[in-house]
Each structure stands twice: as structure tokens, then as C-alpha cells.
């Protein structure tokens, strides 16, 4: 279906530059961990100092922290929070988008008896519980699940209950996306703030959970398109197992939008991480990040270095990711 690749994906100077930048970031992130935190001490005599101030080669922010040091320490956050969150969100989005796009509302079917027993068990779990004797009642949902499966088996003897009923995977995904997107940011923050103390992993999870819908919708759209193509119908007709179809025929197709969206989402994630941190559910403020520097430029709009320097770092990271994630990957051929 596809002419031979016109250009071999060679490792050009751009890719080398990208690898160098990401390597530098890694070095900065590791190095920042070894540096004493004293380098971040605010210098109250030089607040909002422009670059080339003695002792502050890259200037200071309105708190008097050295911009160079903040950039260095901020690399850690970019590498350990924003990047994993971007990758995880893309992975989660791809997975859910694939499932919803592939199965749609009709293709995933379960016999009615399992629906019935599952529903009864869920209702039982939601409505009643057992008195706990000091221990967490971990066995209660497990027991209900086991009972549900057994009852389902038993019920399947009745012919009338063997009729398959479709699982609305697509509808479920879209509803979930709408719910997440309609949730006001402040409401989300307050809900999370009430539930837990800010932690590093909590932040990655929170960022992932708020950003996956974008890639999920892209993947779902692409899968819906590809699913109709003749070669996929042929693959299905040939009796290939679903996971094989997904892996060899769908995944390569959805790679393009995902590879484009990962670098682009970095900036949005850094901005979101800053917003969350500012509202007290992200990172504690003693951990510097590029986003915080960018946000300071809102307070001091004429301090261009607070905008330009972290902006450049961010741009370099975005472009490096863009270079290392080739959009036109080998496409499926049959």
C-alpha cells in the first residue's frame, strides 16, 4: 500500500542537537540534586535584577532567587514531572482511545447473565457493607466479585439470559471526557486539596488524569477512520485476534497524532503544574520550576528575562522531543 520510504530516518544534526539538549537536562537534573539548596537562597538586595548583575549572571526573580539556579533546579521538575506526565497521558489516552474506537458501542459484548450478576454485585457493594473489625474490609468486594462470576456461570444455563448485550465503551469514554473537561479547574483543585497532601507522585497522577482526553479523542477519531479501511476488514475476516489487529494495524496509524501531541503538551503541562502548585496542590513552592518563573512575569511584565529564559528552555525541550519522536513511522502494510 505504500511506496518504499523515500528517505531513511537518518540521525541528522538536528537529532544530535536534540539528544544533546535532553542530555544536558538530565545532567542538570542530576546535578541539581547534588548541589546544596543554599544556591536558591533569596538575595533580598537584588530582587528582579536584570541579567549580567554581579553574582547573578541570568538575573533574579521578584523573590530574589537566582534565575540560573532556578532554571537548573527546574530541569528536575521538567524531567521528573512534566515529561512523565506527558508520556503517561499519551499512553493512557492511546489505550482508552484505542479501546473505544475499536470496540465502539457494539462490538464488545457480554452475555446478559453476566451483566445481571455484575449489576447485582455492584448494587450490593454500593448499598451495604459488612461491619469491620478494626481491619479494612478488603475481602468484601473480592467476595462479591467471586460470587458475581459464579452466579453468572450458573445463570448462563438459562437460554434466555445468554443473549449478548453490548458494552458501550465509546459512550463511556466520551462521557468521562466530558465530565473531566466540564470540571472547573478551581473545583478540581479544591477537591484534591481536601483529599490529600501534595506529593510528587500525586502531582504526576493528577496531571495525567487531567490531560489524557486530548490524545484519547485524537486516537479514537483515527481508529474510527482506519477501522473502515478494506485491509482491516480483511484482517478481521482472516480471523486475526483483536490484540494483533490493534498492535500491527491500528497502533502504527495512531502513532502520528500522538507523536505530534506529546511535545506540544509539554508546555501546557508545565503551565498546569504551575497553576496547581500556586493553588497549593502541586509541588511545594520551595521546589523551583520553569513554570513558576514564567508565572512571575505576570507580576513583573517588564522583566523580560523571567519570560525569555524559561521560555527558551521550554521551547528547546519541545523541539528536542519533536525531533526524537518521528511523526512518519513505518505504517502497517498488508
Amino acid at each position: 500500500m505504500r511506496p518504499p520510504p523515500q528517505q531513511t530516518t537518518s540521525f541528522g544534526w538536528q537529532q544530535w542537537l536534540a539528544v544533546t539538549w535532553l542530555g544536558l537536562l538530565l545532567l542538570a537534573a542530576v546535578g541539581a540534586g547534588l548541589l546544596p539548596e543554599q544556591y536558591l537562597a533569596p538575595d533580598l538586595l537584588h530582587t528582579s535584577a536584570p541579567p549580567l548583575t554581579p553574582n547573578h549572571g541570568l538575573g533574579t526573580d521578584p523573590l530574589g532567587q537566582d534565575v540560573g539556579m532556578v532554571l537548573l533546579f527546574g530541569a528536575r521538575v521538567a524531567l521528573c514531572v512534566s515529561l512523565p506526565a506527558a508520556l503517561l497521558a499519551a499512553a493512557l489516552g492511546t489505550l482508552l482511545g484505542l479501546l473505544a474506537g475499536y470496540w465502539g458501542n457494539q462490538r464488545l459484548q457480554l452475555p446478559a447473565c453476566y451483566w445481571l450478576s455484575g449489576f447485582l454485585a455492584a448494587a450490593c457493594y454500593v448499598l451495604v457493607t459488612v461491619p469491620s473489625h478494626g481491619l479494612v474490609v478488603w475481602w468484601w468486594p473480592l467476595a462479591l466479585g467471586a460470587v458475581a462470576i459464579l452466579v453468572g456461570r450458573f445463570l448462563s444455563c438459562i437460554t434466555g439470559l445468554r443473549k449478548p448485550i453490548a458494552f458501550p465503551a465509546d459512550w463511556l469514554l466520551l462521557t468521562l471526557i466530558t465530565l473531566l473537561a466540564a470540571l472547573p479547574r478551581l473545583l478540581l483543585v479544591l477537591t484534591v486539596a481536601a483529599a490529600s497532601e501534595p506529593t510528587f507522585w500525586g502531582l504526576v497522577v493528577l496531571l495525567t488524569l487531567t490531560t489524557w482526553p486530548q490524545s484519547a479523542r485524537l486516537v479514537r477519531a483515527e481508529v474510527q477512520r482506519v477501522r473502515q479501511l478494506p485491509y482491516l476488514e480483511a484482517a478481521t475476516a482472516a480471523g486475526l485476534p483483536p490484540w494483533r489487529i490493534v498492535r500491527h494495524h491500528l497502533l502504527p496509524n495512531v502513532w502520528g497524532p500522538i507523536a505530534t501531541t506529546i511535545p506540544l503538551s509539554m508546555a501546557a503541562l508545565i503551565a498546569l503544574e504551575t497553576t496547581l502548585s500556586f493553588l497549593g496542590v502541586g509541588l511545594p513552592p520551595e521546589i523551583p520550576s520553569w513554570g513558576r518563573l514564567l508565572a512571575f512575569s505576570r507580576v513583573a511584565p517588564d522583566a523580560w528575562w523571567l519570560l525569555a529564559l524559561p521560555g527558551l528552555c521550554l521551547l528547546a525541550t519541545t523541539l528536542s522531543l519533536r525531533q526524537l519522536l518521528p511523526v512518519n513511522k513505518q505504517r502497517s502494510t498488508i
Binding site: L44, L63, A193, F278, G280, V299, P301
Partner: protein
Amino acid sequence: MKSFLSGLAAFLLCGVGLTACTTPSAGPPAVRIRWAQDPQTLEPLTATSSQAVEVINLRHCSLLAGDYEHGRFAPWLAESLPVISRRNSFTLLTYTLRREATWDNGQPVLARDVAFTLKVMNCPRLPTEYSRTQYGVILDIELDAANPRRFTLVCKGSSQNVIIASGDYLILSEHSLDPEAALRAVPLPLLRADTAAALRRYPSLLNLANRYRSIPPEKQPGCGPYQLTAWAKNQYLRLQRKPNWWGSKLNKPPRWLQAQAEVLDYRIIPDNATALLALRRGDIDLYPEPPAQDFNRLRHSADSTKLLFSVANSYDVTMVGFNTQRPALKDPLTRRALSMLFDIPGLISATQPGLAYRSVGLINPHDKPAYNDSLPLLVFAPQRALALLSQAGWQQHPDKTWWRNKIQLVLNIIYKAGAADHEAIATQLRTTARQLGVLIKLRPQESTLLRRQMQSGNMDMYVHTLNGTPYAYNFFSIMHSRGIGMINYPRFQNAESDHLIEAITAEPNPLRQASLLRRFQVLLQQESPVAVLYFARHRLIASRRLGTVQAISARPGYDATQLQLASARQ
């Protein structure tokens, strides 16, 4: 595609062209003031924002007005301060209203309007939770049969604060809000005591409440100098001086009965950078409370020839409080040690150079009689703090951490998320403390959550700016043990201090009150439940169209009744 592009070009050109048309060539006669947010509601019973209070005070009058120049209350709608007498355990305050005072329609303001107002503030089915409690000291009103302008308020308690409370609410017009005089028959004590019984006996109260709610607050008539002519939510609000404002008929009207500007035009611009641009372009005339950095930068820029700058000492005090119920912070020595870790001059020069001044305690240093200048200011002395910590029983382990009775000295500090000056304080404290081995965690919070945590004592330390007034000293809510769980955020509990606070509030003689206040400052410095960092200065920038403009010590930092265009000034 081409047509789209040309359409876009036309759109842009149209935009540019029309800007030129819409820019007013000659300035309108209005004084244009920047507001950061909308007043939301002008309903006197529920209005909370400072913007709403400002408008309400320009449209309505109370019995007494705050005289910020002398730091006291003065007669506004009343002819003079009330005559005080006693009956059993009650205080009787007899007021006489000004003869000249009229409503919009020329009707005189009478004592029965005051009675009506007090009854509305306790009327069932109206949002009266605040007024019912806040003015709960007023038990009854007695009208003078001989003089329709004279009345007596029966109050409980006898302190200065009761007198202030008795004249602090704005007066509503009976004849336009209650033309059938349904409330006149209802006794105030009944409304105060039992709303259900009042509703049973006077069912017409329901009609009144419905009628009151059906009149938009901006349409309520007032006896103040201005009336509202336009209000677009979140955009602008315009006040026009009444053509026959009764205050101008007075012989020598006091400041709060003057109305200099013909039109006051409030523009709602949330973003500071936008407001600054608008000021420099001449779109607004007055920019109150700009950020310190912007104020100083503009003052030293070329624009300073086109603008006016003014500062005034305010009563807004920024402090760090300690939760005195936490085991680690229970003893004053530890609190005093931590107070020595603030580099206050450095913080002032970093966040608000020239716009803040220091104080030994919660009393403004410009209040000379009450301010205890014999006390030393807090010093930045980490080494002395170390000594104090050891004295307090803390021991430093080899890894530099401090321990006492198996408790490590690790503290958190909460402050409002996004408040740059509070963050600077917390960051500086954290850095200094870390060098000594004291670990401090920063916890910025959204403002409602922050207040909740401070109220419930769910923190070790907090940064807070307390907005004071020039009129009276009242430490009941912030330092008395009765305020714990409300805004006694340090949860400070001290028998001697409670006693002093009660004495200060009850003392009518200013000289004796001043000496009590001096003792209170000594006590607070010894106990150190809070570390007072600095008082801020109010500041404003104005365009030269205003001729002269003076910042004032009371909120919001300017006096809208005194603003005037230079061209209109004789």
C-alpha cells in the same frame, strides 16, 4: 480562502480605524477610578466587598461618619454626637437628625426612617444574619413625640464601641420602601427576640419582605450626595451628584458631607498591567493601591511629569503568627527565637521599598500617645535565636536538627497562594531557619481554605495582613481567648492579656486607654504570639487632570468625596 483573508484584513482595519474614532478627544467631566473587581451587589444588608461599601457610603448616609484625620467618629446625618444617659443597666443614646437632610424626592429624613431601618435589619425573610448580630446591642428605639427628628436608642453595654455601633448603619427611606407603614406598628424588641411570633402577629411582614426584595438595591432612594446612573456588571459603574444635594446648603459642611466631583466613574479592570497601561494612556484618572514595584518604577520614570503620586500611612499590618497551642510553639521563648529570623529591613526593601514602616507591635507608630516607643524593634539575629532556642530547652543533634522531648522542630507556614509579599516572607524565613537546622515547610493555600485552616488552628505558622482602622482599638476578636476558633488565629490565651483587652475596650478616657495600650504592647512582645513585620502605606497614582490628590490612612486609600477635576476647581 481568499475571501476569508480579505475579510480578516477588513476586520483588523476596521478595528484600527474605529479606535481612532472612539478615543475621546476632550476628557469627559467624570473622575474615572480604577477598581480591581465589581461590587457584585449594592444590597446594604449583604454587601461585603469594599467597592460596594464605597458606593453605599456615597449614596446613603449613616448617623455617624468616620473622621480618619482625627481617628474618631463624627456626626453625619446626626446633628451632633449622641447625648448619653443611663437607665438601669442600659445606655440611652439620644440623637437628633440634621434639619437639612432630605431624601432624593425632597422629603425630610426623620426619626421614623431610623426606626424603619432598625426593623428592616431584623425583619424575617430578609438576609439579616449579619446586621442582626452586628447591631444586636441596639435593643429598642424610642421616638420623641415632640420632635420628629429626635429619637433615643436603648443599648446594652456602655463602651465606645456601642456608641460606634449605634450610628454605623445606613438609613433607609420608609416612605418609599414601606409606603403603607406596615413596620411602624411592629415593636423592635419583638422582631429581635422572636421572628416566628412576629410573623404570626403581623402577617404583613411577609409582604414587606417581598416588597423589599423586589426593589433592586440600586433603585433604593438614599440621602447621600450621589445617585447611581449606570452600572454594567464587571465593566463600569457611574455615580452622578444630585442637582440639589442637601449637604451643599450647609454653612460649612464637614468633609464627609461634601461632594466635589460632578460624576464619579468607576472602571473595573482586574489586571494590574492593564490598569497601568490604561492610566498612562489617560483612560482612567485614579489608580489606587498599585503594586509597590509599579508605583516606584513609575515615580522614577519619564511619565512622572504627567502623573501625581501620593502615599499615606495605613493601618494594614503584616505579621507572622504562631499557633500557640502547638507543643513546639507553646513557650514564648521559642516564638521569640523564631521572630528573630525575619530580615524585616531586607524584606521591606525587597518587596515594598519606601512603602512600609516598622512597628514594635500591633499599634501604629503614628499614634503617638498609645505607641510604646520604649520597646525595641525586632532584630534579625540568627545567632541570638540559637541561644534562645537552647534556653527554651531545645537540643541540637549532630545532624543540626533541633529536638525537645522527642519532638523535632519542624514547622509549616501557610499563606495566601499568589500573594508575592507573603511568599517572600515565608521563603526568607525558610532559608534562614534552614541554616540553623530548623525545618520550615511552605504551604500556600487558596484564600477560603487558608482562612478555614487558620480558624481551626490547622497550622504552625501563618502570614497574614490585618486591615485595621484609625477609629478604635479592639483586640477582642484577634487576641482575646474568646476569639479562639474565630480570628484569634494564634489561639492566644493569657489571663493577663484577656484582662487588659477588656480594660482597653471599656476605658472611656483616652489617656488611661493609651497607658493600658502601652502595657498591652509590652505583654505582646514578651509573649510574642505574633511577629509584627511592618505596616504598609496606602499609595495612589493619579493623572494631572485631578490637580491635587491625597492618599488617606483609612481604606480604600482615597476619599471619593474629595476627588475633583482640576478644570472644575475654582
